[in-house]
Amino acid sequence: MICGSARDIVEQASVPRFLFTDFPLGNPMGKPYDEDMQRAITNMGLDLLEDARFPRTTVQTPFSWGDDAWRSSFMRVDDSNRELLRRAGEIRKKQQARRKAEGRVRAE
């Protein structure tokens, strides 16, 4: 079973059981320090393990993050950062080349 927050990636990969929480990436088991929420999500996951009968079963937890700003902010591309991202890409290419030269990439 997978517990996660990237619904399209996980469902496209096709998994047996998926507990989806519609939160920003990083806290699929519940908001930090919200023990009641985390306990509820864990128990929903255990329910899904017991109750699912077919592959590609997705259950969405009922929790809301509280605001929607993260939906548009994460990985946003607009006129305010387009040039910055282009330059970051150039830096990344140099880092990758250096990493490869140092042998710090996983063998194929």
């Binding site: 079973m1 997978i2 517990c3 996660g4 990237a6 399209d8 990636i9 496209q12 990969a13 096709s14 998994v15 047996p16 059981r17 989806f20 519609d22 939160f23 920003p24 990436l25 990083g26 806290n27 699929p28 088991m29 519940g30 908001k31 930090p32 320090y33 985390q38 306990r39 999500i41 864990t42 128990n43 255990l46 393990l49 017991e50 699912a52 009968r53 077919f54 592959p55 590609r56 993050w65 700003a69 993260w70 939906r71 548009s72 902010s73 994460f74 990985m75 591309v77 607009d78 387009r82 991202l85 282009r86 970051a88 890409g89 990344r92 290419k93 710090r104 990439v105 996983r106 194929e108």
Partner: protein, 174 residues
Amino acid sequence: MSDQERVVADSAYRAFVSYIDKSREFYDAQQYERPYRWARHDESPFTPLAKPLSESRIGLVTTAVNLDLPDDTDTEKLPVASTFAAPVEPVPERLFTQSRSWDKEATHTNDLDSFFPIHHLQAAVEAGRVGSISERFYGIPTEYSQRRTNDADAPKLLELIREDGVEVALLVPL
């Protein structure tokens, strides 16, 4: 309100985020030459529980790294990622997550149980809901190469969890 915010607020558009679309546009802006081809399968394996969950051993799998490092660690200096198993006891105080692509503006991962629910699983065992937790937890790299995932990391993970008699695997990716 920006165009993107307007779309998010408009119920004529899908509510949940498409990370496939977002990451394609984001990496295109960074001059990646080809869009990433995400794993896609027409079928999925499915195995019903062989015995009640209350008699089963559960193993917890994370994409975090089993290193206690400060958040500002230069991720370029990290060792090359690999699949691993590490003792559940004592529970690690923290796991290193900064090299993973979670939303670092909207939230944090300072609370282990928000992405690594070990304490809640332990409580489920104490309550008799789950039979036991594996003595080790498991980590698997976030890997762009699906070939490496299929041919190296997944078989290694399967080997590790079978060594420990795990009957149910719970993967919580960041």
